[in-house]
Amino acid sequence: MIGMAMLDLHPRVAATTILERRELADGVVLLTLHAPELANATQPGQYLMVIPPSGEAAATALAVYEAEGKRVSILFFVTGKRTRELATLACGDRLDVLGPLGNGFDCSGDTRDVAIVAGGVGIASVWLCARELLRRGAHVRLFYGARTAELLVDAQRFADAGCELVLATDDGTRGERGFVTDTLVRSQRPELIYACGPSPMLRRVGEIASGFGVRAQLSLEETFGCGVGGCWGCVVPLSNASAQAPSFPPAERGGSDVVYARICKEGPVFWAHELRW
């Protein structure tokens, strides 16, 4: 939750067991894990560091997609060595993870009309956010874009829960043809925007929000090292005046008004207007 960086969310090492494995599309895998402590503690927009069972690569940052009862799930696209390994896991297999981690979306206001923008696998970070906002009675429009229709995974879940869907695909196979941000800019101004997706999309969301004169919470992505704040590998430039800024002297004390914040620790969610990227 942005702006509440010091909240103790009790991250821990959790030994989970895989309860279900589904392939939502070619190369898109959903794993449901038995993980009672995580399910209780996870806030919208938080993520896990998933320890590779082989021990042969760095742990992988994956958002908590759903959290319900004693279960959490992760949803990932198979893009490389590590997600390829995770895709081989089967029901009953053990999977150790660190989490819940990071400062997620702040859903605490009483905003009535919100837009959620998700690009590709960014959808995995926003379900808990949508659910919470709907619970609080907000009208939620989901702007959801992907390369092609097949990769607009699980859109129906959001519709069933009560979101208004605006879909877009690069190839026009479903929804509007083009970028999801093109649909956003043409739509009615929301009160607040939440977004997760590739960096170019997020930058554009930030511009659109400032055009609308509204604020936006962006969930960023970067190559992670430790994932827990120890290596300063995953940073983004942030206004040193941000409540999320890490301890760094301001210009008048020999420092700078811009400071690199850790996406894994201060983020992954930041206010668009505080980023200096």
Partner: protein
């Protein structure tokens, strides 16, 4: 039953309950890892390197995964020694393991100044001199690449404190042994061997270097053979203890370093795979020594040293 084998070791005056250090820059201040690792089961945390002035660090991206390793180019992001002492250091008091400060610089005076300020604080039990950071624009690494400059930096730092001084060496040199000797002669109490190996990666989609800084430092199992050799050769040339590092993940990896001549090991990148690795390694070392009936870890240090076999040498081979 034998008593538990001893894992305690000494680096100069620094007494560690376990022969494991957490690599500078990889373990934050320990706080970040505390929810996932039992800090009372590690020897010491080496803090992220601090400089005289604040440093924003390098542009992004700062990390790239490579086969069996990773490149990093953090660029010594840190708030500078004043802010650090004022706002950060007090948090480290009361950690259940030892804390080693790490000092980086660009002038000999910088090293001496930061070393003196840092070593004066009770939270800090020893100082590591990072004369080998490959990721800073100016002559950051030059110190560690030149025996004479190394000598001058170490002498200057030595003059400021009686606490244990560990000098961290760069592998990016023709003759690391010569630099190790100079560090010893100039007053180092121990050597950290090795820092990262310079490298780069290119994004073949964008045709641009993957790191914001273009070049970075390679760590992880990929560099382990390079690190083991450096420890092996330096151990024959110096008599101060060595903290071996570079790609340690498993018991076998750790043993390679002890057998090569390291008195202690440091674990960096492996924490990014699983923060339970350091604790597991200590338990496995304990079990290994017990099984082999070895009373203390110190007994295996340097035991791999042998002469080259000379079977079947003949004239043509003398060249």
């Amino acid at each position: 039953m034998n008593p538990q084998p001893a894992l305690a070791i000494k680096l100069g005056k620094l007494e560690l309950a376990f022969p494991t250090l957490m690599g500078s820059g990889c373990y934050g201040s320990g706080e970040e890892f505390a929810p996932f690792a039992d800090l009372s089961k590690i020897g010491a945390i080496v803090l992220k390197s601090v400089t005289r002035l604040p440093r924003l660090g390098n542009p992004t991206p700062r990390l790239v995964h490579t086969p069996a390793g990773m490149l990093n180019a953090i660029g010594l992001q840190n708030p500078g020694i004043e802010w650090y002492l004022e706002r950060e250091l007090h948090k480290y008091a009361g950690r259940p393991c030892k804390i080693v400060g790490s000092v980086a610089g660009f002038e000999i005076d910088d090293y001496a100044y930061v070393c003196e300020r840092l070593a004066a604080r009770d939270e800090i039990e020893a100082i590591e001199l990072n004369v080998s950071c490959p990721n800073v624009a100016r002559e950051g690494e030059t110190f560690g690449c030149d025996p004479d400059l190394t000598a001058r930096v170490v002498e200057a730092a030595r003059a400021t404190t009686n606490k244990t001084l560990i000098v961290k060496l760069s592998p990016n040199v023709t003759d690391i042994v010569a630099i190790a000797r100079q560090a010893e002669n100039s007053g180092a109490d121990a050597l950290a061997v090795i820092n990262t190996v310079r490298g780069m990666a290119i994004d073949v989609e964008t045709w641009r270097p993957r790191l914001g800084n273009i070049t970075g430092g390679l760590s992880g199992p990929a560099i382990r053979p390079i690190a083991v050799l450096a420890v092996y050769e330096i151990a024959q040339a110096v008599s101060i203890p060595i903290v071996g590092q570079g790609g340690i993940e498993t018991l076998a990896d750790a043993l390679e370093f002890f057998l090569a001549g390291a008195t202690a090991i440091s674990i960096g990148t492996a924490n990014f795979t699983d923060p339970r690795i350091p604790e597991r390694l200590v338990a496995e070392l304990q079990a290994y020594l017990t099984r082999r009936n070895i009373a203390s870890i110190e007994e295996i240090v340097g035991r791999a040293h042998v002469e080259i076999a000379t079977a079947h040498q003949y004239e043509g081979d003398e060249g």
